[in-house]
Structure formats: structure tokens, C-alpha cells
Symmetry: C2
Subunit: 148 residues, 2 copies
Amino acid sequence: MHLTRFTDYSLRVLIYLAVKGEERSTITEIAETFDISRNHLMKVVQELGHKGYITAIRGKNGGLLLNRTPESIGLGQLVRDMEHELSLVECFRDHNDCIITPACRLKPILNEALAAFLAVLDDYTLADMLGQRQPHLARLMQIPTAEK
Amino acid sequence: MHLTRFTDYSLRVLIYLAVKGEERSTITEIAETFDISRNHLMKVVQELGHKGYITAIRGKNGGLLLNRTPESIGLGQLVRDMEHELSLVECFRDHNDCIITPACRLKPILNEALAAFLAVLDDYTLADMLGQRQPHLARLMQIPTAEK
DNA sequence: TTTAAATAGTATTTTACATGCATGTTTGTG
DNA sequence: CACAAACATGCATGTAAAATACTATTTAAA
């Protein structure tokens, strides 16, 4: 059971932007910080933009900004938005060949478990991901601290 | 987020054996019933045997039997046993390059969510998967009903 | 001793995911 | 206006995990 890197990278982007604060960040900068594929990151950013989490400003001196406060970004919603396939087993999907589905209690049980999983994440926001640790995170990501 | 077919098939095998009851079932029979790869099913059965869920009897007239009562087979344990990789994101794995791990709260939060997921499954057993539906399941799997 | 079954190991194929590349579009700056 | 810096988009390719296939071996009943 895995989340995709897509979701993982989404979280990293949001953390980065939150720590960076007012200042714009670029995709290149984030890709280099985490040493991950710039191309892949572009698509992550694109979708984060479409879903309203961030604002992407084109053109020279463009970049990315958080579009919502860290407190308002729930992790449950984020996972639901970014993890495209939340179908745990075959009988969750459109194409299902399992012959016992009509009588099988597996799907409702797994649905309940999935709901519990997401409910925990609903208790946390991006702000909780930072907490007191913002300075430590800033150091790790080599973001010059805001106070200048 | 998916469970592997390996885990899915494990559940199907256990359901089949539970409905079949005292009588032995063969891998071929189960593979044909669900129209899935016999070869893949072999490995599932092998591991279910190693983990003590079922007994495999070799030789002519051999076959498979449940080794424990349906009531004693918890779904949480089954998923923990059969789903080899329960590492949700990179920072759960041995090889982790994410530079913010030391300050990042993601891992503990996801761990809590995973625990909630498994806790729900711990509330159910193989017996709950059958319930009153045993006759319906038997029909769907084309198992002649026990009373003869 | 033949046959039907599980067991085991290896190889191949599939597929979702990730990555790369080329090109387009937008926008600030000189 | 031209350029450069940034995101946007579509298509092609790579890759690793999972699934499947193949082949041989072991076991035990008839």
C-alpha cells in the first residue's frame, strides 16, 4: 500500500511554499532543493494550481505562491485531491470481474477502513506539518530565514 | 492507494475455503472459479501456508484446507501479513532521500492514519466476511451446498 | 508405477508511474 | 519590440513492481 510520488511531491511543494512565505518560489528551485525531477514536479504544480492550492505566476519573475493559509489546507482533502486512484482492490474499480462482489462484505469493510484513514488526515492541516519546526525546515531546505 | 492483487487473492482463497468447509479445495479449482492466474495463485497459497492460515496437502486427492477458524482470522493481521510494502511514502523506506525528514511531521501523521486503517480491519474477521451470506457466496462460487 | 496434487525457482510480460523532451504561452524588463 | 524567465501542455520513453508464465521437483494416493 503506497501513496504515489505525485502526492508525496505535492506535500513537499506545499511545505516549501509555506516556509518560504510571501516570497515567490520557482519549480526549478524546489526540484533542486529536493533533488527530484523538474518535469514531474511541473505536473504536480499544475494540478495543485487547478485545484486551487497554489497560484502560479507566469513570465519573468514569476513563480509559485500558496493560495490558501496553511491552517485551511486539510491533509485529508489534499490526499483525496492528489491521489487519483483511491480504489483499494478490484471491486472498487469500474472494471471488476470478481464474481462474488454481490455477496462480498470486503468492499464495505475496506471502505470503512479507508474512511478512518482519511478521517485521521482530516484532523491535520498543512500548518500542523510545520508546527514549531519552521526554522528547522527552513534550514534543511536552505531557505534564507525571513527576518532580514 | 492500492492493495496488491496478492492481498486481494488471499482474501478470495480464504473465503473460498471457508465456504467449502471440511472438504478440500484445489488451487486449480479456485483459479477457475475466479478466472485468475493459477500460477500466481500458487504463490499466494504458498505464503498463506507458511503464515499458518491454511494447510496444503500434497499428492493425489490433496488440496487446501483452512487451518484456523474463520472467527480467529483477523483482517488487519491478514493485510499486515500479505501486503509486503506498507510504506506509504519515501520517508517510510530504508532508502530515503527526502532532506526534510528530520523535521517533517508527515511520517508520524501518516503512521497514525495507517494505524486507524488497520484498527478498523482488526475489528473484522473472516467470519464477518461471510456472515449470513454463506449460501449466496456458495452459489456465486458454484460450490455445491454442504447439506447432501 | 502412474497420476494428481502441491512446491519451488526462474523468466517473461504488463502496467502504472515516473521521467524526459520539445514546444507553446505569458509577462516583466531593457 | 525583442528577449528572457517563468509556467503550460502534449507526447514519447524509461523503469520498477507486480502479475503471469514456464518448467521442474516432490509427495502421496490409487
